[in-house]
Symmetry: C2
Amino acid sequence: MFGGKGRTVELDELDRRILRELQKDARRTNRDLAAEVGVAPSTSLERVRGLRRKGVVRGYRAEVDLAALGRAVQAMIAIRIRPPSRRNIEAFRAWVSQLPETVGVFVTSGRQDFLVHVAVPDTDGLYAFVIDRLTQRPEVADVETSVVYEHRRTVAVEPVRRPHPDR
Amino acid sequence: MFGGKGRTVELDELDRRILRELQKDARRTNRDLAAEVGVAPSTSLERVRGLRRKGVVRGYRAEVDLAALGRAVQAMIAIRIRPPSRRNIEAFRAWVSQLPETVGVFVTSGRQDFLVHVAVPDTDGLYAFVIDRLTQRPEVADVETSVVYEHRRTVAVEPVRRPHPDR
DNA sequence: TTTGAAATTCATTCATC
DNA sequence: GATGAATGAATTTCAAA
């Protein structure tokens, strides 16, 4: 497998520290990063490239403030698709993913088939999304809206702790 | 308000294009960015700083592949807190946010009080999270687990379109 | 793999527009 | 506000260990 979505990648302590720093601030200079983790800049550069090549790091993204973009109201919308055929699921996913209100899409098991995370200017915008946009789709059988009061993402996801590193 | 979580920030076309690029790749060189959007490097540098200063850009993060970190199984766990007092909500939020399995937390209205996004090695890890960890907390009244088959985040969130930009 | 030093590219400042 | 030229920093390469 080549850098795509693959299996678990073994990371040593240096990789893990670098990964932690890049999740906190992806734009730290390589010099700073090297100083922080205690290696030469050329070494940290090589490790960062390795993390990217192995697919551990998928990319570097600016995190935006949704309220600053005029999207102060967030919601998670649980959606049930009937029938939940591959055709219907894939069509809905493609459609909902590219709506401007959508900021994230979870395809799930359970009560709903989708959890759609949206960000809109106000509650009117939310209501309009639900009753104007979603109801356009015949495969949408049920919708349940939860307003998101707060959303926090984990700053730095850690690799799972292995009891005995192989070798 | 100073850069914190504030009101909508007015952005012109140049800001919007820069914001789009930084969401796609936060580590493009300023020179590249400037060339892409058609201005001098000193200009794009000034704009990028402005976006940061105004709080539109909250930071720059490396996006990791959860499966590569040994966390191939994701779930969204809907949790109901009883009684849903401020004390209980805040205590639970603080506790769940710092668990290693947690990658995101939504505080919501609706059927549940929390949607907790977790990433674990396998279904055993998921089951253990639910029956060992969550049930430790007396305020957790109900739990409903949805396995996440797929999670896609919107690449670049756009500012809401204003009909008539104020001057 | 890691390193330090050389070579190259980039960020940043600031006088000018 | 935007620009470009000058300067100071950083990235990147690579031969050596």
